[in-house]
Structures are given as C-alpha cells and as structure tokens.
C-alpha cells in the first residue's frame, strides 16, 4: 500500500521541518518527504491542502482501564479515542486491577492491543507488587513482557527505604522509573490545592510543598543510585524551579505536565465541579504560569493527556468522594494547539512537546517523519472548531472539565504503520 499525503503543511519537530510538502508512505514506512521517490505510484492520495501533517502524537499517560475497570472503559473504546485524537503511541500506567505487576497481565494487554490494530501500546510496569510499596516486582520479566518503564502511578509510596531499594534495583539493570513527586503523608486525604479556593470551599487540601519535598527526595535518590527517572505530572511553581535547578546541576531527569494543568487552575473548581477533581490537584494561577514557562524553556520536556476515563456514577458524587481524573486522549491535540495560540508559539515548537519529546523520553525511534521511520502520522485541520460534548467523544469516559467548550483543531486522518486507521 502506497499512500501520498499531498500538499499539506508538514511539521516534523524533530527535524525542524515546517513547510508545505507531500509525504510519501510505502510498506508502512516514510518513503520520502517533498519529492516523490522514482517510479512513484500511489494507491491512495489524501489531499491535505489546508491541513497540518505531523507525526502521530505520543502520549506518556493514558489509562485504558483494562484489566479490571471495563465498566469505566475498554481497550476498544479507548484505542478508538486515541486514534480519533491523532495519538499513535501511548504508555499506560500500571494502576489497573490487578495492577500490572506480573508478566502475564502485560502480555495479555499487549496482545489485546495488537489485535485491535490501532495505536502502539507501551505498558508501564508496577514498581512494587500490587502497588503496595512492600516488595519489588520482577522487573526483568516484566521488561521482557513489554514494559518500557516502571512506576507507582498515583499510589502512595511513603516508605523512602522501599523507594531507594526499588530505584537501586532498577538502576542495576538500566530500567527507567517514572515517579509522580508527591509526599505520601502530606497528601493523605487531600483533594484540592492548599490555598484560597480549598479554604473557601472547605475541601481537604494538599500543600504545594508536598511536591517539592518529594522532588528533593527523588533527586537525592537519583544522585545515590544513578537511576534514570522521569518525573510525572509536575504541578507547582516551586516544583518547576527545583527541576530547573536540578537539570542545571547536571542531573539526568526528565519531566512532564498534564495538559489540564497547562490550562486550568483551582479557581476552575467553581462550585465543586467534580470534573476538576484531578491528580495532582489543580493549583493556583501562579503555578499554572510557572508550568507554562517551564514548558517554554524546556524544563518540562513534554505534555501528556493523563487520560483517565471515569464513569458517570463515580463522578456524580460530592467533590471529595468523586473519582479523580479526566478523559484526555481526544483533547490533547486541540488543547496543545490552544496553548500554542495563547503563548504565540510556533506550531513546530508546540507539537514537539507531544511528538519528538515524548519519543525521546520513551527511548523510541518514533515521533518524527524522517525517511525510514514508521509511518505513524496525524493529519489535522488546525482551524476546525468543535464543541466538546459527550456525543463528540469516542472515549467511554465523558468526564472532562472542558465539556461545553468549543475547541479548535480536529483530526482528519490518523495513520499507524502506514495504515489509515482513522478518517473523519
């Protein structure tokens, strides 16, 4: 199958490429960009006039809810959401039921995902058995089964000794560890940022320094063990400052932010809007500004969706009891474009944060359109407006703070391995 994506604005952040061109795909790979290979004859031509052609998005945190939470979402529904959102590779956290702590579970997930023939799925293994923080998992076996990193998801890991052992073990074999910096005891029971809004609404809160303290602990353990750590879901002003300083001192860490935290803050909770109950909590406007600055200067390497489909029953509860999280796979691209517009960023720089940068952190040869690369491509209309409403979302989770908001940017074609898997 030879596909020609004709006359689009091709943006390939990794190679700094941004101009009108045609993209040629053959045998599942990028064959050429700009000039057709000799003797080229396309089986299918996609007219991309007026559209942007970029690498398929890579999302470092998308919960598919399998195994265990099929009533919230299934692989079928969430993989459909991924390709509808232009996401062609995603990493899924281990907080399933049971957690991804043994090879059989990971193999089953990979097998199920492959059979759907959609986006590439990269499972993240549990750092400790059952995410209980008591025993190290069989990281070697899990890696062979397909885990690309290990994390503790949002489960508390309050025992620093245990964390040290897990990091030492991972460092021994060169495994990557992804950690969300949040002190377990300071965040216990909290559901909102410790500040004016939580005080006014009487919500149990999590102080910003719960993140700072955890970051400094992680930094020391990275120095002690040499483990490769990726910091997941930064949320505070001070956290950004500490990561900036750590990177400057030569510490090899990377970090991400969830797209919601780029746009929202605690004020958006309004009168107890449970869609704004997120992990980590939405913080102040000052924190949001710092996260944006961190993204702009590269302190924060990338943006993820932190996709968490939640069923209505679990959201229609008082704020603190409502299950945290928001659906995000289909909003990652339009919300990244919105951020780029608001900050007057060139598209090539903004899209890097959801393509080339996450590929670098994953250690994958993906997220670019160089010749010979897998043809994972997203073709989108940057101007198309659409209303975020339940019927517009493929994800089984309709839970998003952006319900009722009009966004700009709609995916027209998604290609995975040279196959057109989504057209709209």
């Amino acid at each position: 199958m030879k596909i020609e994506i004709r006359n689009g604005r091709v943006i390939d952040p990794k190679h700094g490429f941004d101009r009108q061109a045609s993209l040629y795909i053959a045998a599942g790979k990028i064959a050429a960009l700009g000039e057709a290979p000799s003797g080229w004859h396309a089986n299918r031509v996609l007219d991309a006039t007026g559209l942007v052609v970029c690498p398929g998005l890579i999302d470092l945190s998308a919960r598919l809810r399998e195994p265990g939470f099929e009533y919230k979402a299934t692989l079928e529904s969430e993989m459909a959401a991924a390709i509808a959102g232009g996401v062609t590779s995603l990493a899924c956290p281990p907080d399933t039921d049971p957690p991804l702590d043994e090879p059989g579970l990971v193999e089953m997930l990979k097998h199920r995902a492959r059979s759907l023939n959609c986006a590439h799925v990269y499972p993240i293994g549990a750092l400790t058995v059952g995410l209980k923080g008591e025993a190290i998992t069989e990281m070697g076996e899990l890696t062979e089964a397909g885990c690309i990193a290990f994390s503790h998801a949002d489960a508390p890991l309050g025992d620093t000794q245990m964390l040290l052992r897990a990091l030492q073990y991972a460092a021994t074999f060169g495994y990557r560890v992804w950690l969300r910096p949040q002190d377990a005891s300071l965040s216990r029971g909290g559901v909102a940022h410790d500040g004016e809004v939580a005080t006014r609404l009487g919500l149990p809160s999590i102080p910003a320094f719960a993140e700072t303290i955890a970051l400094e602990t992680i930094f020391e353990l990275v120095r002690a063990t040499g483990v490769r750590v990726h910091l997941a879901r930064l949320s505070t002003h001070e956290g950004v400052a500490r990561v900036r300083a750590a990177k400057k001192s030569g510490l090899l860490v990377t970090c991400d932010v969830a797209i919601h935290h780029v746009h929202l803050c605690d004020v958006d909770i309004g009168w107890f809007n449970a869609h704004c109950h997120l992990v980590p909590p939405l913080r102040s406007t000052r924190d949001r500004a710092a996260l944006r600055a961190g993204l702009a200067d590269g302190t924060i390497d990338l943006i993820c969706s932190d996709h968490t489909p939640v069923d209505d029953d679990a959201k229609q509860l008082p704020f603190a009891e409502a299950e945290p999280g928001a659906t995000g796979l289909e909003l990652l691209l339009p919300l990244t474009l919105k951020w780029a517009r608001e900050e007057s960023l060139p598209l090539v720089a903004a899209l890097a944060r959801v393509t080339a940068d996450p590929a670098r952190v994953l250690g994958l040869d993906a997220g670019h359109l160089g010749p010979g690369a897998d043809a994972d491509v997203c073709v989108f209309d940057p101007d198309a407006r659409w209303l975020v409403e339940p019927s517009a979302l493929r994800s089984q989770g309709k839970n998003t703070p952006f319900l009722g908001v009009e966004l700009q940017g709609r995916v027209r074609h998604t290609l995975v391995g040279g196959h057109i898997v989504h057209e709209a």
Partner: protein
C-alpha cells in the same frame, strides 16, 4: 459564573452558602425572621405559609439540634415534615446520594433540608435537580462538611443585629477550630458581606485553614490580643476526636490557651456578647461561668434559629 442558588431573576432558589449572597437578600431574610420570633410567643404557634408543602429533612450526618429546629420551623409554617436519617439507611445499602434524591422527588418533595459530611453535597443535589428540569424543588444546606452552614450563619447575624443593631462599627472574634468549621466560614462570609469592619479568627496554627486571610479576616494566635475591644465573641465547638492527637495535645491545654473564661472576657468591650453554635463543651472551649453569664446570648441564638429557618423556608416557597 452564575450563583447556583439564585434563579434567573436573581431571587433565592436554594440556600446553599452565604458566599456571594447579596446583602439585600440577607437583609430580607433577617427582616422576615423578626415577626416569626413573636409567633413562637403566641398560644397558636402556626402560620399557614407552607400548608400542603412537603419538606424532607435529609440528614446524612447525625444532628439532633439542627434537625429539630428545622422540623419545628417547618411545622410552624404548617408544612408536612419527613425526617430521614440516611446515615443509617439507604447509603449503607449502596444507594447513591442522587438515587436517594430521585426517589424522594418521586414522592413529590417540595423542599430538601440537607446535612451531609462532604463539602459541596447540597450543591451537587441542586445541580442535579436543575439538570433534570426540577429546579422548582428547593434545597437548603443544613451543613456540608467543612464548607458551609448558611442558616447557622444567618441566625448568628440575626443575633448580632438584635443586640448590636448595626454591623458597620463592630469587631467580631471567632475563636477555635476554624479549619474544620462550616459555622465559621458561613459567619465570616455573612459578616463581610454586611460590611463588618473587623472580623478576627483566633486559634492555633493547627486549626487555621491556609490563606484564611483571603476571606477578609485577621488571624490571631494569642487569644488575649485577639479579644481586645471585641463587641462580639463567637466560640466554636471543638469536636472531641480533635481534642487529643495531631492537632492538639489535650483538651486541658486547649482550654488554657483558647478557652473563654470570665477573666479573658474582660478584655473585650464591657457590653460584648458571647455566642456559641452549640452543643457546647463546657470546660473545653468555654467556662460555665461565661456560658451561663450575663454576656451570653447562646440560648436566644437557639430561639432566633427557628425564626430564621422559618424565614428562609417561607422566602424559598415564594412568600
């Protein structure tokens, strides 16, 4: 964002919080309550303003006093009152909060009085009723988590106005566990809306919410300094489970620092009034000599509470 307790015409639809409630509406509730105080002194303590209406007292958290005063208020307005202690029935059987509401709506409820352990539960119910086209059913927040207790706030305002006439030159001190107190939040919001120039909160750092100054109050940790020249002293209840542990070492040490004694009360103005939302812990937050003394208006608060709740219910019902 539209205030969810007002309808499109700016009239009171639900009473969920005192935050953002216009001073005109607060004033109207307090004015309406005045004649209801005298109804209680008559032989026939009933008016027919809510005749034919059904009021559900939905208590997801136990409270004898608040539930009783709401029940009396509704009955004096001639409503039919149903008391439900949900804490020990449906939710323990697995029914969700909104399922419970839907079932009671099917029984033709006109008004819900809701007490819930979670901040925001009454807002959730009001939004659910609105989203399902049943906004004619009214919701009164009878205390939700740490968030609000607007009828308590209103009865406190009524009491202060009764004894002090005007809010514009008052210094009010609220003392104790502000962190966990919905009473404190509602009263602070009411006082600032009505233009009280000086509202103080007094307590240890462990019982103060972060950035409480943003609500328009001054924070004092030294009770003697905080009491100086106060016109109104409001003592908060200290829950027994918080008297010993991570927040406070002991009830005795708490009383030593933050208990109201006759000696400390001398620092306030000579005509200061002492209030307490009840139930009191004598010897923990307040000394008996003060609770029963000449400055105390704690029992009138209870009487006024019924009148204020009658006023809220009758205004919501369109009277």
């Amino acid at each position: 964002m539209r205030n969810p307790q007002l309808n499109g015409a700016g009239e009171l639809q639900h009473l969920l919080t005192l935050e953002g409630l216009p001073s005109e509406i607060i004033g109207r509730i307090l004015d309406t309550a005045v004649p209801f105080v005298s109804i209680a002194e008559r032989d026939v303590k009933k008016v027919p303003l809510l005749r034919g209406k059904t009021v559900f007292n939905l208590f997801f958290e136990n409270s004898t006093r608040t539930r009783t005063t709401f029940e009396i208020a509704a009955k004096r307005l001639s409503a039919d009152v149903i008391n439900l202690n949900i804490g020990v029935s449906s939710t323990t059987k697995g029914e969700t909060l909104l399922d419970t509401i839907d079932n009671l709506v099917a029984m033709n409820a006109d008004m819900f009085v809701v007490r819930h352990g979670q901040s925001g539960a009454p807002h959730l119910i009001a939004q659910h009723l609105s989203a399902t086209g049943r906004e004619h059913i009214h919701v009164i927040n009878a205390g939700d988590g740490r968030h609000g207790h607007p009828t308590q706030g209103l009865l406190d305002l009524f009491t202060i106005r009764h004894y002090k006439r005007d809010f514009h030159a008052l210094t009010v001190a609220i003392i104790g566990d502000v962190l966990h107190s919905r009473v404190a939040r509602s009263l602070i919001q009411g006082l600032t809306t009505l233009g009280t120039p000086e509202v103080r909160v007094i307590g240890p750092q462990t019982l103060m919410p972060t950035a409480v100054e943003s609500m328009g109050v001054h924070v004092f940790h030294d009770m003697r300094k905080g009491l100086a020249d106060c016109d109104v002293v409001v003592m908060l209840r200290l829950q027994s489970e918080r008297m010993k542990g991570a927040l406070l070492p002991s009830a005795g040490e708490y009383f030593k620092h933050y208990g109201l004694t006759a000696d400390k009360l001398k620092l306030a103005r000579p005509d200061a009034i002492v209030m307490h939302p009840g139930p009191m812990n004598r010897g923990v937050e307040i000394d008996s000599a003060v609770a029963d003394g000449s400055h105390s208006v704690i029992l009138p608060q209870v009487t006024f509470g019924i009148a204020v709740r009658m006023a809220v219910m009758s205004i919501l019902a369109g009277n």
